[in-house]
């Protein structure tokens, strides 16, 4: 407690750094992955890329990617941009694939009904396809959020400031309180953001509150599958 009372401004700064990176990564992930998923619905080449990309990326340890991306893209190693790029890649790998699955399994009858009424393609995407895919999207997003928040801490190893700095610094100098503070704040941040997305998702999908169990179980299964995918060797 003594350590925390002396260092809380630093903890707050690192929390804000951590949070800001999480927000950037999550937003970029969705902005890239959802259009990619929709395009791979009809583009066979993109679909093949989706499968290869999502299957192989999690086989690459994040630390190795933190080293490779600066070489390939030319961003400084010790920059938040580096961390944001790498973790966006991981995020896209999860959301691209699961959202593609969600688009693939949209009921053809519903899409047909939309066309028959004279709904344009663009409007169909925004007002039919995206809302109907959103339960899976939100589930996948929660997985990405959890994995992003923990993977950001790895960035501390290459010197990018985040709550992970409390781990590296705490270990090196043998300050247990610092490590524990890190763990508690990371877990709290993860829990908080997960609740936020879950609540916002539920508010945006009122029809789900009254939906029969079956489809909700399906969404949960997708979430479980994506989780198993990320457990591999990412850290």
């Amino acid at each position: 407690m003594k350590w925390l009372s002396q260092n809380w401004p630093m903890v707050i700064d690192l929390t804000l750094d951590h949070l800001w990176m999480t927000v950037q990564i999550t937003v970029l992930t969705v902005l890239f992955a959802v259009p990619l998923a929709r395009l791979s619905m009809t583009n066979r080449w993109l679909r093949a890329v989706a499968v290869v990309f999502t299957n192989s990326l999690y086989a690459v340890p994040s630390l190795a990617l933190f080293m490779m991306v600066p070489v390939l893209v030319g961003v400084p190693l010790r920059s938040t941009t580096n961390v944001v790029i790498v973790l966006t890649l991981y995020g896209v790998a999860v959301i691209w694939r699961s959202t593609l699955d969600a688009f693939d399994t949209l009921p053809p009858r519903i899409l047909d009904a939309s066309d028959a009424m004279g709904v344009t393609r663009w409007r169909r995407f925004w007002s039919v396809e995206l809302p109907l895919a959103s339960p899976v999207l939100v589930s996948a997003l929660r997985v990405v959020l959890a994995s992003t928040i923990s993977l950001i801490t790895v960035g501390a190893v290459i010197g990018v400031p985040s709550l992970g700095l409390l781990f590296t610094d705490g270990f090196q100098r043998g300050i247990t309180a610092e490590v524990i503070t890190g763990i508690v704040v990371v877990v709290a941040l993860g829990w908080l953001l997960d609740r936020l997305v879950a609540v916002a998702g539920a508010a945006a999908m009122p029809w789900r509150a009254t939906t029969p169990r079956r489809s909700r179980r399906l969404a949960r299964r997708v979430q479980a599958q994506s989780l198993r995918g990320t457990d591999g060797s990412a850290a």
């Binding site: 009904a113 009424m117 999908m205 029809w207 939906t211």
Partner: protein, 270 residues
């Protein structure tokens, strides 16, 4: 009025869905496309709002060649009733109906008001409007589907096996309601069914289609019963095996009617 002139369609996999099809749906009347599965009924129906384009031939709606009309514009001018309603599961019932009015340019308030009127017209309680489709029974969803097709005030309506998914009692009720609405509104209706009774109950004229997409006969129910064009038509209608035969039997001085299998279904009124 809807006309088909020498319409042909063969799918890439080689199945022919329409073979030199010509017929006319006169304005204000109901025509049923009747045939076994694989006869291309649904394909013909979907050609009218350009969900499918023919390989050759001409289709007109209200004297306009539809190949010259933008598909989206065309679809907004035609009501469409799908099997099981085809409602959007994530929109409330009222919004499902209002959507079509919105697409046709109505303001939000106006669209909702019209949607509410249509729900009442098809016999649904106003309070059902705020529910989601899955909270309704199959018959209620089907009524919403009809309301949605009516809300655009289109003159032409397409119905794809509209009452196939509901139980027989509800089906008869919906058919009766459709006849009632039709006599009030006088729409030009093209409907697909594989159910002979449904075709007889709703249609003024029936296009009988055979497998391979050609027209076997185009006639009124009365003509079909008196003069089936060939064995295929007679078989399809149930005239060959006696399934549609009715018999009058005497039971203690009363003339009763039995159906093809000998079950009593009514009595003769003198």
């Amino acid at each position: 009025m809807i006309t088909f002139e020498n319409v042909n369609k063969t799918y890439p996999n080689g199945t022919t869905a329409a073979l030199d099809v010509s017929f006319t749906v006169p304005a204000g009347s109901t025509v049923a496309l009747l045939g076994p599965s694989g006869a291309g009924k649904t394909t013909l129906l979907r050609m009218v709002n350009r969900l499918v384009d023919p390989d050759s031939g001409r289709i007109t709606v209200g004297d306009r060649d539809i190949s010259q009309i933008n598909p989206v514009t065309l679809r907004r001018s035609i009501g469409y009733v799908l099997q099981e309603g085809g409602l959007l599961p994530h929109k409330r019932v009222l919004d499902n109906v209002a959507l079509v009015a919105r697409l046709n340019g109505a303001s939000k308030a106006d669209a909702r008001e019209r949607a509410q009127r249509m729900l009442t017209l098809v016999g649904l309680d106003a309070e059902l409007g705020s529910r989601f489709p899955h909270q309704l029974s199959g018959g209620q969803q089907q009524r919403v589907g009809v309301a949605r097709a009516l809300v655009g005030e289109a003159d032409v309506m397409l119905m794809d096996e509209p009452f196939g998914a509901v139980d027989p009692m509800i089906r008869r009720e919906l058919q009766a309601q459709t006849r009632r609405l039709q006599s009030e509104l006088g729409k030009t209706v093209l409907l697909v069914t594989h159910d002979v009774d449904e075709a007889f109950s709703l249609a003024d004229q029936i296009v009988v289609l055979r497998t391979g997409g050609s027209v076997a006969q185009y006639a009124t129910p009365e003509e079909l019963l008196t003069n089936p064009a060939d064995d295929f038509v007679a078989d399809l209608l149930g005239l060959s095996d006696g399934a549609r035969d009715l018999h009058v039997v005497d039971r203690g001085g009363r003339a009763l009617v039995t159906d093809g299998s000998g079950r009593f279904i009514g009595r003769v009124r003198a």
